[in-house]
């Protein structure tokens, strides 16, 4: 098991390096000189040249990458030239919002998707299965901004149960904080559960054809035990993968949902950085988000080993 962990850890090093290179290139190769952006259109060529020299922009690209990487490895991702905030400060401020949104969305998504998938697989082809598969397909085809607007209309405008936009930190008003998160989390969850449901449903249907399920029935076990103990665990590998990808994706915040519901998360930080051409923030945030994604996938790999002993023992 230890060699398995070490092997997987070594495998993600080159991935992280590639991620850092790509992030750097995205920010550096964008058209437009950063010095002009900072100084505005009234800048004299002398001022621009001086600033370019100060910022190291007159150095060759590979040198700039290496020096940036050197700083990153020491924990210095740079500082916004607009607000003076470091990348780490800005992310630390926004990250809890996106994290909470992600956790709530994923939790609600699994809460809907998993039981529906099991119920569908248990009676595949039945009325409930056909209805739910159809509903999932309809949900998948609805863009999140539409779902968000419909939810706001129903719960905020008509029923007046929940606020449409806004945010308070959990530490200040726990209940109020949750109220602000319900609608955005639900918007995301309604897009998440169909995927969760479909992969788990099809894996469960395949598992239920296995000989060991027939044997479990022949052993006279209770139907619930067959579904939850014998069938669910071997069917959940794809589910774990999908959930991991979803979590990684949502860790980077969601531009649209955070914007609609005015949540100050990573997504809105990124949008702001793009609008103001705040390349240091953009580059730093993308790097951190990508690293988060890689780490989540590493955890998913570890979960495979927990779920399937054959992977743990190096047989698969």
């Amino acid at each position: 098991m230890l060699t398995f962990v070490v092997r997987r850890l070594l495998a993600i090093l080159p991935v992280l390096l590639a991620v850092s290179l790509l992030t750097f290139l995205i920010a550096s190769l964008l058209p437009g000189d950063l010095a002009y952006v900072i100084l505005g259109d009234q800048a004299t060529p002398e001022n621009v040249a001086a600033l370019r020299h100060d910022m190291g922009l007159d150095q060759p690209l590979w040198w700039r990458y290496l020096s940036w990487l050197g700083h990153v490895l020491q924990g210095d991702l740079g500082r916004s030239f607009r607000t003076g905030q470091t990348v780490l400060q800005a992310v630390a401020e926004r990250f809890p919002v996106s994290l909470q949104l992600m956790l709530m969305a994923e939790f609600i998504g699994l809460l809907i998707g998993v039981p529906v998938a099991i119920a569908c697989a248990a009676r595949a082809g039945g009325a409930f299965d056909r209805f739910m598969t159809g509903s999932a397909f309809a949900m998948l085809s609805m863009p999140s901004f539409l779902v968000a607007i419909l939810l706001i209309y129903l719960f905020a405008v008509e029923l007046r149960w929940l606020p449409a936009t806004g945010y308070v930190p959990f530490t200040e008003a726990p209940l109020g904080n949750l109220r602000f998160f319900v609608l955005p989390a639900l918007t995301l969850a309604l897009a998440e559960w169909p995927g969760i449901m479909r992969v788990l449903r099809s894996d469960m249907i395949a598992t239920l054809q296995e000989d060991y399920i027939a044997l479990a029935k022949a052993k006279g076990l209770k139907p619930a035990r067959i579904l939850f103990v014998h069938a669910l665990k071997p069917s959940s590998l794809t589910l774990v993968t999908v959930t991991g990808i979803n979590i990684g994706r949502l860790l980077g915040g969601t531009l649209i949902v955070e914007s609609i519901f005015a949540l100050p998360g990573i997504g809105r930080l990124l949008v702001g950085a793009i609008y103001t051409r705040d390349l240091v923030i953009l580059q730093g945030v993308v790097l951190l988000v990508a690293c988060g994604f890689v780490i989540v996938n590493f955890i998913v790999d570890m979960l495979y080993a927990v779920l399937d002993p054959r992977i743990r023992h190096g047989h698969a």
């Binding site: 000989d211 060991y212 044997l215 052993k219 071997p234």
Partner: protein, 330 residues
Amino acid sequence: MSAPLLTIEDVAVELPTPRGNLRAVDHVDLSLEAGRTLGIVGESGCGKTMLSRAVLQLLPKKAKLTGRVMFDGEDLVRLDAERLRHLRGRDLAVVFQDPMTSLNPVLTIGTQLMETIQEHLELDAPAARKRSIELLAAVGIPAPEQRLAQYPHQCSGGMRQRIAIAIALSCEPKLLIADEPTTALDVTIQAQILDLLAREQRRRHMAMIIITHDLGVVAGRADEVAVMYAGRVVERAPTQALFKRMHMPYTEALLAAIPKLETAPHTPLPAISGRPPDPTRPLKGCSFAPRCRYAAGRCHEAKPELKGAEMPGHLYACFHPIQMAEEVGA
């Protein structure tokens, strides 16, 4: 003669397929007394596995089953799900063909043994554990205590089949159905597994059905043999009587197709030519007629009934039964 433990009465199984209904089992009658062994023999697709699934009530959902399966005084076909669940695993146990796929890969051997024991017997976890260890020892697993914490992929094929047998034996079943229990195993392991089954059967006085395509498997081990072809029982007899004087040309052909050690190398194996009939398009006459070297006019026109021979208990379905015992190399 006591009342039979298991009576299969006029059982037929139909499976809907895109090409029409497939008659997998075609009105079969069989019976088995407590403590006795019945061998069901036939080639792939003859319906022997479907018949065993019909007894276990493990047929695919779409399958249509008619007839009665009387087990210990109850009709399994009409039993409610909860009562059936209590019979399965306790009185009615099964060993499947492939031990590579019949054990759950993500549960430990201990879990898979103990869950059956605790489902049916009033035992707490330590007692169930103790019983599991005894069972593993009884089926010849060395260091049974360590095995409990292991997963199926950590055991060899023969070992896994022993574990599957231990699971089947765990609640002292009255009937054990072994569906090709040795087909997926090495030849060297096959005899060991068959001997193990025979030994445990005698010790526990349980009835057993061995399903196989190999007449050699049932030869020394079954009290009675039923030969199936195209969903029907075509010959049925006490084992000794069958091997002494078989009447059905199919049985003869099946026996001839077993490779023998004394045959000279490179001799072609006398395989049965042709294929079994398409089960979605039943023949008017005898199902074996197209492949039978004795077939004559009447064989293609009408189905022979399963009827008694001169020996008691020996039934066969053939218009032109083989009479000459010397033609059979048993």
